[in-house]
């Protein structure tokens, strides 16, 4: 007798475990080539991302600004490791959960907060908002709101690097929801066909908005690489040193050999998809399990254990970051909104205003 076919489509009513982390690296920072100062700087930067977003959420809830707000809290080791490992002129592009990458790529807390507030002093002059942070001078290419649509663009950044033979690589981040888009497959095919120096990174945080990985995608995500003969790795995104170790290897391979590479980074976001997320698709136990391995808290413990910093020194860094973020809020509040004529600027390059039926 043949097995009775499953009649339903996406099953409901059962909460899935979102993701399984690979083991963290055993190497300490010195083995990875990091100085104590590197570790301290990375801690500060990760904590800045965390504090920036905690305060941004408060401001959002107070009604200080509108739009969407997608928080990166829990995933900060990924952005910091990336910026640490890559060259300053390597190209980074990401999706709408973009504040962390902006902050590590030279957007100040002030310019970031002002962008959330929609102010002229924001990193995109108040025209992009939360989902569209940009810092083109530092090779941070956004901030993109259509799921998966920036993956071919990231491949295009790498195409230009290969064409210009400038030794740079690109790295494109997207969430697990994006792996179901055709854009990923077309980008993977072209990147492998043309041997583009591009790292594609899925930040698998277990949920495509509220839909668990097992409910939204048909196979293990890293296997997307197999169809294109692309190299791949699975990385523990909750651990800074694991991220650094793997990215060092991969970035070198991609740069030296001009090849694409796919990384499935397993991670977790502690907050909802956006500010309106009820979170009832996951359990408190799962959230607690991941909070227990918070990359920032563990880095603090590590620094104490390895005597990189004393507790009072950690506290003073945190105080300094707290103040930096509070100053950023003041700056954002006090900044002006864009002037009305800004509505019509930046559509095209060039001095001429080319706007249909605009007097």
């Amino acid at each position: 007798m043949t097995k009775k076919a499953e009649k339903s489509f996406t099953p409901t009513g059962f909460v899935y475990k979102s993701t399984t982390l690979p083991e963290a690296t055993k190497k300490d920072h010195k083995k990875l080539g990091l100085t104590n100062d590197d570790v301290i700087a990375l801690f500060r930067e990760m904590f800045l991302q965390r504090r920036f977003e905690e305060r941004a959420a408060q401001m959002y809830q107070k009604g200080k600004f509108g739009g969407f707000l997608h928080l990166y809290i829990g995933q900060e080791a990924i952005s910091s490791a990336t910026n640490f490992v890559l060259q300053d002129d390597d190209d980074i592009i990401t999706a709408y959960r973009d504040h962390g990458f902006g902050l590590v790529r030279g957007i100040s807390a002030k310019a970031g907060m002002a962008e959330l507030f929609g102010k002229a002093t924001g990193c995109s002059n108040g025209k992009g908002g939360s989902m569209h942070f940009f810092n083109a001078d530092r090779h941070f290419w956004g901030g993109h709101g259509i799921v998966g649509a920036h993956i071919p663009v990231g491949a295009g950044l790498a195409f230009a690097n290969k064409y210009l033979d400038n030794g740079r690589i690109s790295i494109s981040f997207f969430g697990d929801g994006a792996v179901d888009q055709g854009a990923l497959h077309e980008a993977f095919n072209l990147a492998q066909l043309w041997k583009l120096p591009a790292i594609f990174v899925v930040e698998n945080n277990g949920y495509s908005m509220g839909t668990a990985v097992e409910r939204h995608t048909a196979a293990e995500i890293y296997k997307r690489a197999l169809a294109y003969d692309m190299k791949y790795e699975i990385v523990n995104g909750m651990d800074l040193f694991s991220m650094i170790e793997k990215l060092q290897e991969v970035a070198k391979d991609v740069r030296d050999n001009s090849i694409p590479y796919f990384l499935e980074i397993r991670t977790y976001r502690y907050k909802g998809h956006s500010m309106s997320d009820p979170g009832n698709y996951r359990t408190k136990e799962e959230l607690d399990e991941f909070k227990a391995i918070d990359p920032i808290e563990r880095l603090k413990t590590y620094m104490l254990d390895k005597k990189v910093l004393k507790q009072d020194e950690i506290d003073s860094i945190m105080d300094e970051v707290n103040k930096e973020v509070l100053d950023a809020i003041d700056f954002a509040e006090e900044s002006d909104f864009p002037a009305e004529e800004e509505l019509y600027k930046h559509i095209f390059s060039g001095d001429e205003l080319v706007i249909h039926d605009h007097k």
Binding site: K127, A136, A149, V153, G156, L157, F159, S349, V354
Partner: protein, 326 residues
Amino acid sequence: MPQLQFGEAIREAMQEEMRRDERVFLMGEEVAEYDGAYKVSQGMLEEFGPRRIIDTPISELGFSGIGVGAAMNGLVPIVEFMTFNFSLVGVDQILNNAAKIRYMSGGQVNMPIIFRGPNAAAGQLGATHSVAFESFFSYFPGLKVIYASEPFDAKGLLKSAIRDGNPIIFMESEQMYGLKGEVPEEEYLIPIGKGKIKREGDDVTLVAHGKMLHVAKQAAEQLAKDGIECEIIDPRTIKPFDIELVIESIKKTNRCVLVDESHPFGGVASEVGFLIQRDAFDYLDAPVQRVTLPDVPAPFARNLYDLWFPDAKQIVEAVKTVTYTN
């Protein structure tokens, strides 16, 4: 002055710009080894090599997106669609990324990219291969849309487009590639957004772009035999649209027929017709008429296709309506 075919004029524009600027490259389906699906890029692989003349898979979303990323990162891509009908599977890259990223970044990002290829109907190709997309792309802020009708215009405008530094939709036609016209040997550029009077006349203004220019010319010849002299304006660029040139002509003729290969709802004629009634109301001696496709997909059968496609007879009828000579 030498005669060039429309397709040759486009090739010359690309060749000259690629010789001038190392950052310019061409990619698309069959542009290299096959020498171009319509032979527009014939010989370019030989001259520029596979680094700059790049065959793509049939993957419009993928290679349009790669073009966008390459433009952001310092290159000037010319992305060829075998026809704009196929751009639809990659159109998100054009509408959301090419057209908007500069604005969303507060002007930090440059987007010098050309999307070009044949547009609109080319005979009995059925409903999915016959759509005129100029009004569709013109809807979106952040794109400039060019649809040339003659070799001279095509070359000068494409060269300007490649130098413009912005996202440009550049439209051609399979049926016009063999069309001959005079093209000077010396270099020239044609400004984007400037129309041209292609025939002078005092009785009625015809506005026609792309393939429709040639249909309008036929109609004008017939009407001349009846003593009606048409002034034909070819806008050449759909967006920005040179409405001033049209209005000036209407001030002289007081009558206007818009010829547009779009469907009627929201086509180029809709917008231009609106502007004319607002800006030239007092000069009009008759309501503006338009000749467009019907609100029907392209049929295959020859007789239905001929019924569907705008022809000189319909233009003559429309002119007779606005001149009250029916």
